[in-house]
Symmetry: C2
Subunit: 106 residues, 2 copies
DNA sequence: TATGCTGCGTTCAATTAGTGAACGATGATA
DNA sequence: TATCATCGTTCACTAATTGAACGCAGCATA
């Protein structure tokens, strides 16, 4: 349920904004609140993220979702995997578009 | 349930091999037989694919899943959308990897 | 102080999506 | 004819996902 894709996306979001609510996170990733909550908990459970209690300036209560060293390392690896995957997809699609052009031509 | 992703992938598979069983299709796309059946039916329903009865050389019964003109056009459009999406993802990941390198450096 | 308002994380019943074993049908083969 | 393999189809079962509802905490206003 917590796929590499969401593991990556969540770590990325948290890294660039640890002060983010689960609702905001859900909205940014295009998933439901329930799923965001589930995934986040899983990341905390595994020690990739630490939820630090804090009080916001604008009358909010919530956590600061900070990447642990483990989480940072995990994100590095995931990012590299993602880059490779995307490069491969990109390459395949270039072939595909070339095929397509041949098709259209005829 | 039948997302653009699978619409695209199925049309692609069928185009390059109309003589393919639902089981083979499912395996190639990494989905279940049930889902493959469902998606294929949806494509036929919408007129993108036509199932033509035929008898294979190697003692099989099955259909020839042929793309209709509409299906071909649909695939062209989907492919273009996909290329754009992938290019964008690729671009974003390049930025991301650059950020990452900065991180790692420090 | 009390009341209301807002946004927080959490829960969980309900919905939706996905799975694959089982079935009957069809040809090929012995 | 009997057996075997593969076909598409079905559908009960499981997994994944949703979002309304809840209690809580802090701030603003009466």
């Amino acid at each position: 349920m917590l796929t590499d894709e969401y593991r990556y996306k969540i770590l990325k979001e948290l890294q660039q904004d640890p002060n983010i609510s689960q609702r905001q996170l859900a909205k940014r990733l295009g998933i439901s609140l329930g799923k965001a909550n589930f995934c986040l908990k899983a990341l905390i459970e595994k020690g990739s993220v630490k939820a630090e209690n804090f009080k916001n300036s604008t009358n909010k209560v919530g956590y600061l979702y900070l990447l642990t060293p483990k989480g940072i390392e995990e994100k590095v690896i995931l990012t590299q995997c993602f880059l490779q995957r995307k490069l491969k997809e990109h390459e395949e699609l270039e072939k595909e578009i070339e095929q397509l052009r041949q098709e259209v031509k005829s």
